[in-house]
Symmetry: C2
């Protein structure tokens, strides 16, 4: 049965809540303030993102390690900026092993301070030959959240955090940007979400960073979502407050030198981005390349036992053909089957999609269909008595009109599905790109700025560099913020004035302003 | 340079510490009491175990989810047995988000209580059609450890915990044992460690379990290591203390019924098992099927630049041949190379091994060799000027005598390596199996029991079922414990007497007694 979903145009936040609740395998509330349980579907989606990214990181020479989840409080208190940024949201372990601890631990909100401790152990970087040191960890982190929103802001979330050391600043900056490029490719290729790459203004930097680079995506309500960041930390964190090095190496000239440091991460927030970027008034929509199940085969079992078995058997054959043609395995659906009968859905958390058959009896086609629609499954195939007699099946795309069902000969179904998946992946990206282009306006007067932000658009404008403009924007446009200096923006802001203050632009580039999640 | 390693015969615990320290990429101490950082090599080893197990679990129909890492204290206090088992070792979060919490959270030591909470949400199991519900999570857990030993006992460790619900007791028991079987196959096939499968005596059960099944491996010092457990929890945890159900479903007869529950897990402790089962007086030894790098190619670069480049080029060609023949990628070794030159080592955390070339100049062959020996790399290939002139290379196995080096034509090297890897995997398993068989003795007198335990052996003996025997064993044999009732033991204990008490056996089967980690 269709779940009631508030239309996007009526109330976008409620729509988001409705669509993620309509897919029962996505998430559940938990007894931990602001934290959710990631259900089987969300875990697979994150697994596919992880598989894609980990593959590319390993190709870049990055190795994974696993640090403890706790960090001594004193590590934070010696880093003023860092502790001010994170102290209000950390969870604190004060007791362990049946006793009060001499020093509390923070559950990691991010692990810079622990990586720096690790770099210094057992002579990891003695000479320039030991650099670059490229390491990453996949884990969850905790930042206490009183106003949570599933996937977008939760007290605990999953991410990867890369932490690398380099021999010099140029190499550090180059690689900081290379990791940002990888994130942008991930969003565009896998998630079908175009992003703007850019640099954050100083007041939006990661606590302790020399530069923070960002990728920003536009959601369907016109709001910006920061989808990943890469921080040039320089020599920050690597020296004590008196300037003495915590980590150093012998450079090519034989001089003891402090290396350069960057850190970079993307998180399960990306799932929220996928839902808010592609979902429609029927539910979430998964990009075909990301979807754990790309095709659902729905046999119509309305006859007697013998007839149903024939349809089921043909459905299995069809699913096998489709799976083979993409070299992907397929799975039977339905917990009523004992698990020995379930085929392997996916060998690992790499990017792979599979075909699934919903062969439950006693469940109406309409209900099976709505389950797949709510789960965002890219393609559905219906196969009943009538179709079988004609040697045909009905192939339907999640993102095309419902009247757009194609009647396809069984022998051609695999090819039809493969084409549909590729085309739909492309369509989703193009739709999102057109939306972003159409809704990004250049504004030279404050009225234009206010109008644009009030109607869910992004604004390109000159900025005088003042905090006054930043505060005025926030207060008078219900939350407009400077998202970034876009890398590919033209250097044409220098003759323009800040539309709020009327003062000349402090930069050669305009900034992008938008409301944000 | 060889690191000094205490011989096993002299001091086994010190040997263990020495070999895991001699491989610099295995682990580091951390600033968290009893917790370690898992280095790149340990993370890859765990990744390979995870890849193997996750593949087989998915084939059995198990889906992964991700629950929060915190559990409200009240969840524990309502489970008397469970809280008594875990309270002494949990880490407690008392503050979060800048304030004292109304109720503390425990960092999960295991997640039964959270899974039970999750089962009850959003109508997950309404009818018998929703069962079995087969779910698992990969995560780390925390059990505060004041006497840690890297990989064997650490305050934080990584594991998987499966938590499944079934419609009836028979189905639950069958699957509880099926998961144990999978663990045994993992140990034997991948880790080359034979295990005894059996049931724990009542006093060794998981807090709250109706039956605990175990796999026990024998380490080189004759001690037992519990390598994995599967718990038949029955309806425990699923009902309040007054018997009212926390979770129930409508069974086939239309009656509201409480399901049956099992949980099962293996952890990073398995890495300790690998090191203690196969290591020798030179360092750790990795089973070829588990090793992230199966073959290290060591070019001997002792000539001029032109000559060295020729040798390096042939080494790369050779590595490519070997990698191709096993359909595995290869990687260049050495951080002095910028990362763009590094090839992909492995696409994902599945079981795969790769070929690595150590082409550093200015590092002696002896030092490169010892690094590979300390890292437990299964096969090394040396290639220098002399070998190249003859069209040959030297192939050496980690586990065979050092005089056993084979001079092999370059064109045959790939085949030789493949054979060697397969044979060595088999040899490691057979050695461990012979050790276990040779060192398991039947004892009918208390003197025999004491002698056997004092000389690092396991004992099969009749048990009268009393705690007095359990305590006497522990006190008088420096820690002997009942490991299990082995599944494959003969039912011949019923006419025997407990060698400690002289009283008749309470069971048809003997128990296995050993000292344990």
């Amino acid at each position: 049965m269709p779940t009631k979903i508030t239309p996007r145009a009526q109330d976008f936040p409620q729509w988001y809540q409705d669509v993620i609740s309509a897919s029962p395998d996505l998430y559940d509330e938990s007894p931990v303030t602001g934290a959710i349980t990631f259900g089987p579907l969300a875990t697979k989606l994150w697994g596919n993102i992880k598989g894609y990214l980990d593959h590319h990181l390993k190709a870049m020479g990055v190795e994974n390690i696993m640090l403890p989840m706790l960090i001594p409080e004193s590590f934070f208190t010696r880093e003023k900026e860092h502790v001010e940024g994170f102290a209000p949201e950390v969870a604190v372990v004060t007791h362990a092993g049946g006793a009060k601890l001499p020093e509390p631990y923070y559950v990691r909100p991010t692990s810079e301070l622990l990586f720096v401790d690790w770099y210094g152990r057992n002579g990891k970087i003695q000479s320039h030959r030991d650099l670059p040191l490229l390491v990453n960890q996949w884990c969850s982190v905790m930042r206490w959240e009183k106003r949570p929103r599933a996937f977008l802001r939760t007290s605990e979330f999953h991410w990867q955090e890369g932490h690398c050391l380099f021999a010099d600043e140029a190499s550090c900056r180059k690689h900081t940007l290379a990791f940002l490029d990888l994130y942008a490719t991930l969003c565009e290729e896998l998630l079908a979400i175009p992003v703007v790459k850019g640099e954050k203004p100083e007041h939006e930097r990661f606590p302790g960073a020399m530069a923070t680079y960002t990728i920003e995506g536009m959601m369907q309500d016109g709001k910006a979502l920061q989808m990943g960041t890469s921080h040039m930390l320089s020599q920050h964190f690597l020296m004590d407050s008196d300037g003495s090095p915590r980590v150093s190496f012998l450079n090519e000239e034989g001089k003891q030198t402090v290396p350069f440091y960057d850190s970079w991460g993307v998180s399960t927030r990306l799932l929220g981005a996928v839902f808010m970027s592609h979902g429609d008034d029927d539910g979430i929509v998964l990009p075909p390349f990301l979807a754990p199940v790309s095709t659902a085969v729905l046999p119509i079992l309305a006859g007697d036992a013998k007839e149903n078995e024939k349809i089921r058997s043909e459905a299995r054959k069809l699913a096998g053909l489709i799976a083979d043609s993409k070299e992907i395995p397929f799975a039977l659906h339905g917990r009523e089957k004992s698990f020995e009968e379930l085929a392997c859905t996916s060998c690992h958390d790499g990017v792979s999609s599979s075909v699934r058959i919903d062969q439950r009896e006693g469940v109406r086609l309409g209900d099976k269909t709505f389950q797949q629609i709510h789960d965002g499954t890219p393609v559905r195939i219906e196969l009943g008595k009538k179709e079988l007699e004609e040697g045909m099946c009905m192939v339907k795309s999640r993102i095309r009109s419902r009247d757009d069902a194609k009647k396809v000969p069984l022998k051609d179904a695999a090819k039809e599905v493969a084409n549909m998946l590729e085309e739909d992946q492309k369509t989703l990206f193009e739709r999102a790109q057109q939306r972003m282009e159409k809704n990004t306006l250049h504004a030279s007067s404050y009225d234009e700025v206010k109008d644009a932000l009030a109607t869910g658009k992004w604004v390109e404008m000159a900025w005088d560099g003042s905090q006054k403009t930043v505060e005025q924007l926030k207060a008078e446009t219900s939350g407009g913020t400077i998202r970034c200096f876009a890398f590919d923006a033209k250097e044409d802001a220098k003759k323009e004035n800040d539309p709020l203050s009327g003062k000349p632009s402090a930069f050669t580039k305009r900034v992008i302003v938008g409301k944000a999640y």
